[in-house]
Symmetry: C2
Subunit: 230 residues, 2 copies
């Protein structure tokens, strides 16, 4: 399917390979002529689950977040959408979700969902594409679930950085944080303070270094993997 497992012969460790082996974005891009592009600012709402959107979105640049709001106000980010991720705003019986821009500038390409679904009925490749989109969503959610399942904040932050690094550039050691610490906190179910403290903790241990507040360099990836694995 999408993404493959490679065994790094040196470290005998499962190395992460970006999941972008999918050709779904490529196929969708063929429809860009009839698609609409829009730029969203941080916090600007793309859509929410009360209004059933007739759109399929592809992140072109920046980042979007799908978040659920608990009755007492706390937010939980359920999915972090990065460039080339495709998503729709499905209604959900149990919770109300909203999708917002998360980076300072987020560009989304919007495809007519009905059109794509109609195409899917005659073209099995499009149908397969829809399955693949869902499959990738499952993969992202599983990955986040495993991050949330970790016990300590350091493990969560470490795993988050590793995941982000994999999803972004694949092999490079520099990670760009597209979202604020507050969003990271909502993503990891931590408080902002703990996020901040954990990052400085990783710096003090010499595992990462920061270039500004929004860019991080992974110095000792093996040690980071050790911290991460619980």
């Amino acid at each position: 399917m999408t993404g493959q497992v490679h065994i790094d012969s040196q470290t005998k460790r499962l190395s992460r390979v970006p999941l972008k082996a999918s050709h779904a974005p490529h196929i969708l891009r063929a429809l860009d002529a009839v698609a609409a592009k829009r730029t969203y600012r941080r916090g600007e709402e793309v859509c929410n689950s009360t209004c059933i959107s007739d759109c399929l979105y592809r992140v072109t640049s920046g980042a979007a977040k799908r978040c659920a709001t608990f009755p007492k106000g706390r937010q939980q980010i359920v999915d972090l959408l990065l460039p080339d991720d495709i998503f729709a705003c499905a209604p959900n019986a149990h919770h109300s979700f909203s999708i917002e821009g998360a980076a300072t500038e987020t560009v989304l390409t919007c495809y007519s969902r009905r059109r794509v679904e109609t195409l899917a009925e005659s073209d099995s490749r499009i149908a397969k594409l829809l399955s693949e989109i869902a499959f990738e969503a499952v993969c992202r959610l599983e990955a986040q679930l495993l991050i949330l399942g970790r016990t300590t904040a350091l493990e969560k932050i470490g795993a988050f950085l590793v995941e982000l690094s994999d999803r972004q550039s694949g092999r490079s050691n520099s990670v760009v944080l597209p979202v604020s610490r507050y969003d990271i906190a909502d993503y990891l179910a931590l408080s902002v303070e703990t996020v901040s403290r954990s990052l400085t903790g990783l710096k003090e241990r010499g595992l990462i270094s920061s270039i500004g507040t929004r860019s991080i360099k992974i110095i000792d990836r093996d040690a980071l993997d050790d911290v991460t694995s619980c």
Copy 2:
């Protein structure tokens, strides 16, 4: 799609409706003639992500768990499969999953995945069914994510019971725990002791009562929802 939102006029609260509005199990059941049934015992492995299975499973009775094992031994249950849930064992680049029987007796119906996928290419209803299966998986994962995202153990346990109640009988107030406390702990990323303590805590508050160890009655659902919502 699957599942609908009803507003309970009395309580003005979003009431949960089972997601089983899906007709996917129904369609698949039409294939039961060419499907294989098997019974699994607790802990028995159905398949794991190293061997790519050519099967699509439907839970007929009992319960199955999809779990990931962290390097240092801890287990995280990533998906809890209850009767009429459909799942496959997809390979995952990042983690190794295994699917095991979780109830004492779990019956799975196994369909040929290749056959279903071939059917999907000619029959758009089958293709849609595959999308729907994925969509339901996304719903389950999102629900679990929101449970894991809660802060206190009481909230997690409460939300877990509510979710289980919804997925099982819909409206009845009795919840059958198909899995052990240990599995609940792995599902909620808690320790067994905390699971036990939280359950007795809910009992002491008079929100639930237990009939044996594996069956629970929800006494005060509103109060349980209050505990749950953070």
